[in-house]
Amino acid sequence: MTKLLIGDNSFIGVSHLSQERARERTENLTIASIVDIIKTASACGATGYTFSTHPVNLQILTELKKSEKIQDRLELYPVLPYAQAYVRLANEKGMRGLVDETLSKLPLLERTRTVLQTGYSTLRLDVAGILKSYLDIELTPYINAKPKNSNLQSVLLHEVATDLCVGLHNMQFLETFAQQIKDKYHVTPGFVTYNLVSFVKLFQEQGVSLEDVLIMTPFNKIGYQMSQSLETCESCLSNLHQGEVIAMSILAGGYLNLNQALDYLRTLPHLSGIAVGVSSTTHAKDTFTQLNLLPKQEPLSAQHREQAPR
């Protein structure tokens, strides 16, 4: 594993064991204590931080920047959109309200160009234009807040958006996202998916390369969040010759302990990294010290290039 990423679930009130536990845990954490956790994890071998564009993460990055030391270095892997914020907005204001509120964030010029220029019945949306503006609005505050020694390493599309596109066989949106991340931010585009098999199948059927694509997807021995099944996901990973795969949900949302997770992860080929949440400095130290002992694997694309005939 070359990428050992700290996940942000426990910092933003997500627990897959119980919502009560999530609330209690978040109440016990402050921005300062979260920064301590991240720094401890980093000192014990964590190479990066993957986080959703939740306002708490903006505060965390700002605080990390303030207390940054020269040796601190953390790669950043933002995941967007923070889907729950949009669900909440839709719940509060309805779909029409959600659309209005989201559009109102776009620059006036862009709104006019993409939405208002055409008549009522001939409205055509400029996907690339809207997506570009949306990414700027959503990402810029986080990029501005990032610590000096930390590099943006990838920008990932949240699993709800990725998997909706996969379900609807909408390759165009996924490609547009990937292209914009490459063109504007010059980093590897990433996708979080709970449907690795269907995701890979869509790319292959559409003849789109997974080279230079990062895939973050659950891998745990009980098959939690692994559609279609544990076996099909493992087989898909074994047969994958392109793309970098980062395993998430390795503890199956807190259901498994770290040793169980590590025993399973050792059996998997082709993993470039792991993302895991930690909720205290002790937890961070234990987790990343152990993860750091896992054998290092080269990313898939590098392995593949080496095997290819010259």
């Binding site: 009130g13 997500v14 897959h16 064991l17 119980s18 919502q19 009560e20 999530a22 609330r23 729950q84 669900v87 909440r88 839709a90 719940n91 509060e92 204001k93 309805g94 779909m95 029409r96 309200g97 659309v99 559009l103 939405v115 009522y120 409205l123 055509r124 949306l125 996907v127 709800v160 998997d163 909706l164 996969v166 379900g167 609807l168 066989h169 909408n170 165009q172 949106f173 709970y194 449907n195 269907s198 009980i222 098959g223 939690y224 969040q225 559609s227 279609q228 099944s229 544990l230 199956a252 949302g253 259901y255």
Partner: protein, 333 residues
């Protein structure tokens, strides 16, 4: 199998994504009257899918195998009644709750009774392995006889005065919007209550209730207390909790786990307390978009069409939730 979807809101998108991923199923058409959403539909939906502004026209033109109605609650009855009047063998799925009132629910049940199609309502928690386990534990009598229950359903959806569309009368208030899943679970577990008493309160809304406390009484002597509120702060997701106090122990069920705490005489797998997390119930899921029960629910609907079976959450069953909501509100102060 060709599917048409009416209403491309949050639930319309969710079902479209799941259905279109299933083998031999395609979302062939969508009806959306809202301008921006219908424009968005053109770029989101699979190539070849047609976007309509009129539901009847869509059904006439497309002749789908099934239609999903995922529009605002108060539009369900008119849409479904019209569709079933012109197309008698149409298979219809309606997102929960069935209707905005028991009167409207009855109109829909009557229309469905004249139809040869399969009808189902989106009470997906009945497909959640956790709630199924809870039902099994209650049914197998190891817990003994239920004496009383406490339940709540909370969310943070309405936290400001008058800001929310839910505060308007058309949305129906917290009982119609937030509680149907919990009420359906209660009906599934305990049947229909014989009487209800309730108090309701407006916190931020002027037209509808934001909080309801209800007491449900059953012929079996069981009694239950229920709190429903969408103005509780710090709930990232809506949360349901049900605690059943029975003669031999306590059963607690949430979306994340089901737990049995027992008296000394009672044991479950030789442990005094046993908790089953959602992770304990892993079944292969053909496609996962948010929670697995949405996929299981859609698969169950398609299977019911194939076998011409009556789904567990048919219109008739789902109408009981509307009856209970009206009853609670009618007997409230």
């Amino acid at each position: 199998m060709k599917i048409s979807v009416i209403g491309l809101g949050k639930m319309g998108l969710l079902h479209s994504g799941i259905l279109n991923s299933l083998p031999n199923v395609s979302v062939a058409s969508v009806c959306e009257t809202e301008l921006f959403l219908s424009a968005a539909a053109k770029i989101i939906l699979p190539k070849g899918a047609t976007i309509y502004r009129d539901a009847q026209e869509m059904i006439d033109e497309e002749d789908p195998d099934a239609v999903y109605v995922t529009t605002p609650i108060d539009t369900h009855a008119t849409i479904v009644e019209n569709l079933l009047r012109t197309k008698l063998n149409l298979n219809v799925f309606v997102e929960k709750p069935l209707a905005a009132s028991s009167e409207q629910a009855k109109i829909m049940c009557d229309a469905a009774s004249r139809s040869r199609g399969v009808n189902m309502v989106g009470f997906q928690r009945r497909f959640s392995p956790i709630y199924r386990k809870a039902k099994e534990l209650l049914m197998n009598e190891t817990l003994g006889r239920p004496i009383f229950f406490r339940a709540y359903c909370f969310s943070s959806d309405v936290l400001r005065d008058g800001s929310a569309w839910r505060s308007k009368r058309a949305s129906g208030g917290v009982l119609l919007d937030l509680s149907p899943h919990l009420l359906d679970i209660l009906i599934w577990f305990f049947g229909d209550p014989s009487s209800t008493e309730a108090v309701k309160k407006q916190i931020h809304s002027r037209e509808v209730e934001d909080y309801v406390h209800a007491i449900l009484s059953y012929k079996s002597d069981l009694q239950g207390h229920l709190d429903v509120c969408w103005s509780v702060s710090n709930y990232r997701l809506p949360q349901v909790l049900l605690e059943v106090y029975a003669t031999n122990g306590i059963l607690t069920v949430t979306d994340d786990f089901v737990k049995v705490s027992s008296s000394k005489q009672f044991s479950v797998d030789d442990e005094e307390s046993r908790i089953y997390h959602k992770q304990s119930f892993q079944v292969p899921i053909p496609f996962l978009l948010t929670d697995p029960e949405y996929t299981l629910e859609d698969v169950a609907f398609l299977e019911a069409i194939r076998t011409q079976a009556t789904p567990e959450t048919s219109f008739v069953q789902a109408a009981k939730v509307n009856t209970l909501i009206d009853k609670i509100l009618a007997n409230s102060t």
